[in-house]
């Protein structure tokens, strides 16, 4: 992970918690710099929650070492815990308490006085747009409001490090986007966030993404870094006017290997080429020039950087991870 100049909020090396039958987390090594968002992405049961629980001190690793905010989690003092916020996957909401009472309860667990709670609650309810609902009972809140309420509860004591376990699960895309706005805003104010999600496209909102599968971290990188790691660079999608030129175009671009990392015919196409370069937007004009300067000219009908979705990147990463296993079993 880059950002070496920053302090690390979490640093894990070779962490393992084995629940038996292949369930658990294994050989996890990762770091989370302060003031960043680490997104943990992976399918259900891949160990995202367990990874968070180890970092929170709820589980003790059987192997490896981990420090959270500079201390081994199972030796946290009350002071350490006051610097951490947590939004669990399961709703912890008292249906017969109002929004304000639910928040007061959680804030009081962190030792906040009534006056402190009042001031802070007003700020945060405004932040998540729940001011109007402060006297509404928990049982009368919509799913989205309940999620926002939990976010407020976790932020009341102003934690330096916030763990959010699947906070966007089951909510509509608009509110999901809103949540990521909240998270980025908190990040911008200096907090560190660890956010787990099954929604791969949310990777784009994170500073770093850890892709997880079967308890292992397959890759930790920036979203762009992951893309490059999987694709080998960025892709320019070219459509030739004359499919007859496809052979000459391939040969031309392959000769330019200081810029073009690879080039191939797009799947299910006769006139489309996928050209992998370091930076698609930067090299697109040069690629076009290089083809049109050929004699006879190779006319490009259209060209644009190819926007490969993170779903595709995630699937490729999964397939790459699975391939050696299948080879072992085969």
């Amino acid at each position: 992970m880059t950002a070496a100049s920053k302090q690390l909020a979490i640093h894990a090396e070779g962490v393992e918690v084995d629940f038996g039958n292949g369930v658990g987390i294994f050989d996890q090594t990762y770091s989370v710099p302060e003031g960043t968002i680490l997104g943990m992405i992976g399918p259900s049961g891949c160990g995202k929650t367990t990874t968070c629980r180890v970092a929170l001190g709820l589980l003790t690793p059987q192997r490896g070492t981990i420090t959270t905010l500079g201390r081994t989690p199972n030796r946290f003092t009350a002071g350490d815990r006051e610097r951490i916020g947590y939004i669990p996957q399961q709703f912890v909401l008292y249906p017969r308490l109002s929004v304000a009472e639910n928040i007061s309860f959680v804030a009081s667990l962190y030792g906040m006085s009534t006056r402190q709670i009042k001031v802070r609650m007003d700020e945060l309810l405004a932040f998540v747009d729940l001011t109007e609902a402060r006297d509404r009972l928990g049982q009368n809140l919509s799913g989205g409001m309940q999620r926002r309420l939990m976010l407020v509860g976790a932020l009341m004591h102003d934690p330096a490090l916030l763990f959010a376990d699947e906070p966007t699960a089951g909510i509509d895309p608009v509110l999901r986007q809103r949540f990521w706005e909240y998270f980025r805003r908190l990040r911008d104010e200096g907090r560190t966030l660890v956010v787990t999600t099954q929604i791969v496209s949310e990777a784009i909102y994170c500073d770093y993404v850890a892709v997880m599968r079967q308890g292992r971290i397959l890759a930790v990188d920036t979203p762009m870094g992951l893309r490059r790691r999987v694709l080998g660079g960025e892709i320019i999608d070219l459509t030739l006017e004359d499919p007859e030129n496809i052979g000459r175009a391939l040969a031309t671009l392959r000769r330019w290997h200081d810029v073009v990392k690879s080039v191939r015919v797009a799947p299910n196409s006769e006139a489309d080429l996928h050209v992998v370069v370091e930076d698609a937007r930067e090299y697109l004009p040069e690629v076009l020039n290089r083809l049109e300067n050929q004699r006879p000219r190779i006319v490009v009908a259209s060209a644009a950087p190819l926007d490969v979705s993170y779903d595709d990147i995630f699937i490729r990463l999964m397939e790459e991870a699975q391939a050696p296993q299948e080879a072992d079993h085969g």
Partner: protein, 515 residues
């Protein structure tokens, strides 16, 4: 959706400068207010907890008539009835203890009703009751019951015993009255025969001899009859020393007169003048004793001992007052156990334990906060119920402070049991189920309806493990007798409180670590 506020969401550092001891209290207070707020949002629960038991108590007090079971009874009379005992008298005697539904001479009819469950008991009265008695055999009243309740069966046997005693007494009164009637007639003859003995002393002519012998024989027959009809010696002896001598005198006179008769036949009467004088004296004595006997009221003769009863407190309390301490103890315990039983399991299942572990809050703050929340709520509910009880006339004769202390201890002990149930339960419904079992145990084993002394020693650990057993005994002493609760009540509740608190802390700690 509105735009994000521009205000920073970073709290000022000033907000985190609260002293540690204050933060400790704030955390306890967090649980306290959460419990209080959750309960106060359930007005129906509050209403049912306070008003419900009070209404039940008032309904019970206003409708409770008698603690004895009403045993529906049929009496089968012999064909000729019972001489000297009218049907109405019988109805009164049996109706004292039994709900007399039928008097019949048809035993089969009564048995059919018994088999059909229309009545609970048949009493078959014997025929020729006096003849049987005269024959030296005890006549038997046959009781046949068809009851399924063991307590009712015990009552039937006891009431049957009491009734037979009552009938025996009634028969004794009748026979004694008859004996007195006949004895009065015989006494006239005794006085008359004194003159005849005097005549014997002066000498009897040959012509009078046969008539005298006949008189003597007749008189002896009368005395034999008197001997037969007199009440048993125990009945006579229990009344007075004079009457205790009636039978011995009578026996002596009968023997003497037989000797006189023999002497008359043997013509040796003049040789036994001293005997005759003694016999005459005995007859005088017999006459005097018979006078005493015939002039005593038969009731006094049969039941010389009278009952005298005084209650130091004037009279016992009404049922509603008597059961009030029990209802209060039951309410306090059941409310505490039910609320406590749900308190921890609900939060454990909803995942709150995970949040508590992440937060800088200790197990003791969690437990103490919950105890305090429920103590305040149940304390207020109890106060409301006590005020309502005082309004309907239930006294509180003892010390108020001791009463408050005992109530507090009962709440803590019951909450401990409730929390323990909560730690052991895997779901809400299981917790409720266990709370209901504890209620059932309390009703049977706390001394609420069945005295604690009714149980075998093996059940005593169960009795003493129920907070209500100690609370009930203490409340009865304080409220109804004006006495302080026994040391056992204080110790029992204290021990339950300490043990359950310890267990709750140990088990909850494990559960928190697993959260």
């Amino acid at each position: 959706m509105a735009e994000l506020s521009d205000k920073p969401v970073v709290a000022s550092r000033e907000t985190m400068m609260t002293p540690e001891w204050q933060r400790w209290l704030i955390r306890v207070r967090a649980y306290f207010w959460k419990e209080v707020n959750e309960i106060r949002r359930q007005p129906l629960l509050i209403l049912s907890l306070i008003v419900g038991p009070l209404l039940v108590l008032i309904l019970f007090g206003s409708t409770y008539v008698n603690s004895n079971p009403r045993v529906r009874t049929a009496v089968v009379l012999p064909e000729e009835g019972i001489p000297g005992l009218e049907e109405e008298q019988l109805r009164q005697v049996i109706g004292l203890n039994f709900d007399l539904r039928l008097i019949t001479r048809n035993e089969a009819e009564a048995e059919a009703l018994l088999a059909a469950g229309a009545i609970d008991l048949i009493q078959v009265l014997p025929d020729n009751i006096f003849q049987t008695m005269r024959g030296g055999v005890s006549p038997e009243i046959a009781f046949t019951a068809n009851v399924i309740n063991p307590l009712v069966e015990g009552w039937v046997q006891y009431l049957a015993y009491a009734q037979v005693n009552e009938i025996n007494r009634a028969l004794l009164v009748v026979t004694t009255a008859r004996a007195q009637e006949e004895a009065a007639g015989i006494r006239v003859r005794v006085v008359d025969f004194e003159g005849k003995i005097l005549e014997f002393e002066q000498g009897i002519s040959e012509a009078r001899k046969e008539a005298a012998e006949q008189d003597l024989k007749t008189f002896i027959d009368f005395l034999d009859e008197l001997n037969r009809i007199l009440p048993p010696q125990e009945v006579l002896a229990q009344h007075s020393d004079e009457l205790a001598q009636l039978r011995p005198i009578l026996t002596r006179v009968r023997i003497s007169l037989r000797d006189v008769r023999r002497a008359l036949l043997d013509e040796t009467l003049t040789e036994g003048l001293l005997e005759l004088t003694n016999t005459r004296n005995d007859l005088q004595l017999l006459s005097g004793t018979l006078e005493i006997f015939v002039n005593i009221a038969p009731d006094r003769l049969v039941s010389p001992v009278k009952l005298s009863y005084r209650n130091l407190r004037g009279s016992a309390y009404s049922a509603v007052v008597y059961y009030s301490p029990g209802v209060l103890a039951l309410l306090v315990q059941h409310t505490a156990i039910t609320l406590g039983a749900l308190a921890l399991v609900r939060e454990r299942l909803m995942g709150a334990f995970e949040v508590f572990r992440v937060a800088p809050v200790s197990l003791h703050q969690l437990i103490i906060g919950k105890y305090l929340g429920y103590i305040v709520f149940i304390g207020l509910a109890t106060l409301a119920l006590i005020i309502a009880m005082l309004v309907i006339g239930v006294p509180l004769l003892g010390n108020w402070l001791q009463f408050a202390g005992l109530t507090l201890l009962l709440i803590i002990a019951s909450l401990g049991v409730g929390f323990l149930i909560s730690t052991l339960s895997g779901s809400d419904s299981q917790a409720i189920q266990l709370a209901m079992i504890s209620l059932l145990l309390s009703i049977f084993f706390s001394g609420f309806f069945i005295s604690v002394e009714s149980f075998a020693p093996v059940a005593l650990p169960v009795v003493y493990a129920i907070p209500m057993s100690h609370g009930l005994a203490g409340f009865q002493y304080l409220m109804l007798r004006g006495l302080p609760p026994s040391l056992g009540s204080w110790l029992g509740l204290s021990l339950i409180s300490i043990i359950t608190f310890g267990l709750v802390v140990i088990i909850t700690r494990r559960q928190l670590l697993r959260a």
